[in-house]
Amino acid sequence: MEKKRRRGFGMLSDIRRNGTSYLLVLPAMAYTFIFGYMTYPYMLIAFQRFNYSKGIFHSEWIGLKNFEFFFRSNKAFTVTFNTIYLNLLFIIFGTLTALAISLILNELRKKLFVKISQSMMLFPNFISWIVISYVLYAFFSMDMGIVNKLLNQLGIAPVNWYTEQQAWPAILTIMHVWKGAGMSAVIYLATITGIDETLYEAAEIDGASRWQMCMRITIPLMMPTVVILMLLSVGKIMYGDFGMIYALIGDNGTLYATTDIIDTYVFRSLRQIGNPSEAMAVGLFQSVVGFILVFGTNAITRKFFKDGALY
């Protein structure tokens, strides 16, 4: 009763009534304000020749020159293509592997076995890309690596993998799947466990085999989750995994042709070349295209899977 009478007073009265609750949310709000909302104005430096000492309000405005510089360079196409291409490889192979693992684990249903194998698969997910770069080095090092040792035993000349441009999309994809597929498989397996058990019972009465149940019940019912997760990744396709690429490739310029992505390019412009304005221009290009993609994929999701749309 009390609530209804007071509704007219709006936010202020609500703050008075639930003061403590608002107090609890305040630190998070302040943090989000500073590190979220207050960073937006800095995007303007894409149109400036930014000078640290002059700051955002007094630096010289130069219009679209920073964008021009990026798009005129041959780098623009390379990094955009690499970002999208690598992400597509990651999405396709990551999803397929995770899906296969979860379907098989679901068939086995031996609790202890599933549990142990899951723990093992999740492990790579917890270690950093830097440690993984050491792992990678153990495999691909020119004179000491395992791969060249094997090649040697087969009578093939050793390869200097850290200069082999063409090999890296494949190597990066394998590493990406290796690190992340276990985690995705756990999510998929959870979805499978959520499927109504009576469907399987009915199918069993009708004489369906395990294979038929998998093809006719499990996979179709999983598709919404799979498609949603894939669409989410597609929405983020303009954003590469900086942590991965920089840890594994670093500043190895010979590999840039196939591995340099927008994020590593922006990082270099900002921290190594020291041109924040150009970095921002490229970042803005990434954000705008990324923004369109997120909204586009969400619209598609909303259309086909009503419950699945994020917002």
Binding site: A28, P41, Y42, E107, S117, Y134, V135, M144, G194, G283
Partner: protein, 290 residues
């Protein structure tokens, strides 16, 4: 029922192989770290060390090495950062799940906007610079993940599942929001808190982004960043000793490198079994039902 089936055997084999492959590369690194340096230089890396040696570990753990310094930084940053992050996230999560708060959805939107639309790394960097968060241990704690909206929504969703009648009866008994949040909700939400603790903890432990962006002085290098720097530095040192022609010192570069990598993942292995039981549960609640 329990007849031998080929398909089942194949499936067991596939999963076993995949699981083994998940661990094998790490095992290789571990083995290299305990191999004698000369044996590595002679035979290359191998899963089966020809000559066992703990020299690399001795070198790391003695004599004021950079590794120990960085270990301290990483531990400090992880503990303080995770604790702060959990506190802030759970307090905010409580408010967003409190159905008495009329504007909770508006608040959620406020957080959500920054989650879907981030200005990117350049503004992030300039913001930190202007706040003085460079070359400073706070730069490793404050700017990164003190507060991640995704974790906030995990907590909120979990807290939404707590029956309202609990809050009502506590209010009737005269409990304030603070009491309800800290004495009733947080203990009930242990699984999700453990989950975000793991998320935040791993993020802090594995974080080197903040260091590469904001830290220049060596004393503040966290473990991961030190690891990144070490590879290039050791190879440089090796070249220098080669040029100087002094052959009586062998830098155990290969084994030390790998030993440092192993040492870095130590705490994760230690926490692994304990947190895993919460982890899968929390992940499922957050990602599937969110």
């Amino acid at each position: 029922m329990k007849t031998f089936s080929i398909s089942k055997t194949v499936m067991y084999a596939l999963i076993s192989i995949y699981s083994a492959l998940s661990l094998l590369p790490m095992l290789l690194v571990l083995m290299i770290s305990v191999t004698d340096e000369d044996a590595i230089l002679k035979n290359g890396y191998s899963l089966f060390p020809e000559k066992f040696s703990l020299y690399a570990y001795k070198l790391i753990f003695t004599g004021g090495s950079q590794v120990m310094q960085s270990y301290g930084i990483s531990i400090f940053v992880t503990i303080v950062g995770t604790a702060l992050a959990i506190l802030i996230t759970s307090m905010a999560g409580y408010t967003l799940a409190n159905k008495n708060v009329k504007y909770r959805n508006l608040l959620a939107l406020y957080f959500f906007i920054t989650m879907i639309f981030s200005a990117g790394i350049v503004p992030w960097y300039l913001m930190n610079r202007s706040l003085g968060l460079t070359n400073n241990i706070l730069a490793l704690i404050i700017p990164s993940l003190l507060f991640s909206p995704f974790n906030l929504f995990l907590v909120r969703n979990f807290m939404n599942g707590v029956p309202d009648s609990l809050r009502e009866s506590a209010t009737i008994d005269g409990a304030s929001d603070i009491t309800i949040a800290f004495r009733i909700y947080l203990p009930l939400c242990k699984p999700v808190l453990a989950t975000i603790a793991l998320f935040y903890g791993l993020d802090y432990w594995n974080n080197w982004w903040n260091a590469i962006m904001l830290i220049d002085s060596k004393e503040l290098y966290p473990l991961q960043f030190m690891l990144l720097q070490m590879q290039s530095e050791i190879s440089m040192l090796n070249e220098m000793t080669m040029l100087a022609g002094s052959s009586d010192i062998t830098l155990p570069s290969e084994s030390v490198k790998m030993a440092t990598a192993v040492v870095t993942i130590g705490p994760i292995i230690f926490l692994y079994p304990y947190l895993q039981k919460y982890f899968v549960k929390g992940l499922v609640i957050g990602s599937v039902k969110g």
